[in-house]
């Protein structure tokens, strides 16, 4: 089927085009949209793209780092200000996928894909969404992901994260059956700032444990004020699977995902390898 391709210089123009055509999809890296087209998705009649330079820029000024939604995984891996995101960007697909897949696209990757979004969720990222009319709206990534599968309107233009005071406080694990490139059985990201040796305001996020990446709020509550040792994390491990609703797919059953989650969460919290 022949599609119409519309290219715009500004993201706002692209957003307007998207809003006015229900059969339009925004295309950037292509790893999601071209895949759908190759599979014969007849709901797509128009492809909208943008050459807006800001869409592909990383701006690390002040206390926040703004990442254009069109920034690719290889761009993250080549940026020193985003070193803390390298472990998550490095496990997205193989080298060719990483040279194509974008930050914005990762926010839409269906479970069990979307490893970078899990990391961004644990970093309390905010998302800029450009609607068809007016300016861009900022919202917490958690709110964006919660509404993602309901088809909320708008075009993601940027993701913003706070510059980490201590990059070592951020941890990420992807569990896959095939190494070095495998699809996630699950992934876990955690931001664990310490004050006097105790965890303060932790953020823990899961991938592949729900239809979209989710915060592990019960784990966060259980970790607050605790030490990161076996005794300190015991209560967090006991509630590790609370609020999760993993799928059964070709990689793992929902039961298996719940069973192994506390084990990998334990390894992440204790800084263990393997």
């Amino acid at each position: 089927m022949t599609l119409e391709v519309k290219t715009f210089g500004l993201m706002s123009e692209a957003a307007t085009a998207l809003a006015s055509d229900r059969a339009a999809r925004f295309i950037s890296g292509g790893t999601l949209v071209m895949r759908a087209i190759n599979e014969g998705d007849t709901t797509i009649a128009t492809l909208v793209r943008s050459t807006d330079a800001s869409y592909r820029q990383i701006r690390a000024e002040g206390s926040r780092i703004d990442i254009g939604a069109g920034v690719r995984m290889v761009d993250i891996l080549g940026n020193r200000d985003l070193t803390f995101l390298h472990p998550a960007a490095r496990v997205v697909g193989g080298p060719a996928v990483r040279a194509m897949a974008t930050v914005g696209g990762n926010l839409f990757a269906p479970s069990p894909y979307g490893d970078l979004a899990v990391a961004l969720l644990a970093l309390d990222a905010t998302v800029s969404v450009q609607g068809g009319y007016g300016g861009a709206q900022q919202m917490p990534l958690e709110q964006f992901l919660a509404g993602r599968d309901r088809g909320q309107a708008g075009l993601v233009t940027m993701v913003s994260v706070a510059r980490l005071a201590n990059p070592e406080a951020f941890r990420f694990r992807k569990i896959a059956r095939v190494k070095p490139k495998g699809i996630s059985v699950l992934s876990i990201a955690a931001h664990l700032p310490l004050s006097g040796g105790r965890v303060t305001s932790p953020r823990v996020a899961y991938g592949a444990m729900a239809p979209a990446p989710i915060r592990a709020r019960a784990v966060e509550r259980a970790l607050e004020g605790r030490n990161l040792d076996e005794a300190g994390i015991a209560s967090a491990l006991a509630v590790a699977a609370e609020g999760t609703s993993p799928a059964t797919d070709a990689l793992a059953s929902a039961w298996y995902r719940r069973e192994v989650l506390p084990i990998h969460l334990q390894r992440l919290l204790l800084g263990q390898t393997g």
């Binding site: 599609l3 292509g30 080298p95």
Partner: protein
């Protein structure tokens, strides 16, 4: 719907092709300009058999919108050899029996070339990582890894440049 003209450089030569809206680069190469070296495998970005280099970076041709390739430089496995003279990677693949059915070979070669172009002395781990997006169901990967390491040890990139082709 009208076709769109797209011009790009393919293995050092200027090419022009008309594409339909939504056409991927793989179709443009295979049907448009007759370069059938990149294969169609999964169409989902999982197998790597359509790997080509765009401006030196490995990309999956089946997931690349053809229109976005205007003005870009594309390299495929078709451009590796210089007539009867094989690229050092091709020679190494032959000597190490790194191809059985051969379907994955064009993608493997381009993934390997992308690696050696930026890292002429890779470790084994580098090689494994470089071909991690390419699936081979025949060889068990070991002959492929050994071939790439062998080509690197013999100076793959330097050898290719020495042949005077606009391929790197």
């Amino acid at each position: 719907m009208a076709k769109t003209p797209v011009q790009f450089r393919l293995n050092g030569s200027d090419k022009a092709v008309f594409v339909d809206g939504g056409d991927n680069l793989l179709n443009a190469l295979r049907r448009g300009v007759g370069d059938t070296s990149a294969k169609f495998g999964c169409g989902q970005g999982a197998c790597g058999v359509c790997t080509v280099l765009i401006d030196g970076e490995p990309r999956l041709a089946c997931l690349t919108l053809a229109e976005t390739c205007a003005g870009r430089s594309i390299e495929t496995a078709m451009g590796l050899s210089d007539g009867p003279s094989l690229h050092p990677l091709q020679t190494a693949f032959m000597e190490h029996f790194a191809a059985q059915c051969g379907f994955c070979t064009p993608g493997m070669l381009m993934a390997a070339k992308a690696l050696l172009d930026r890292n002429p002395a890779p470790t084994r781990a580098d090689v494994v990582e470089a071909i991690s997006g390419n699936i081979c169901r025949c060889t068990g990967y070991e002959p492929i890894i050994n071939a790439i390491l062998d080509a690197a040890s013999k100076g793959s990139t330097a050898g290719a440049e020495g042949q005077g082709r606009a391929r790197v």
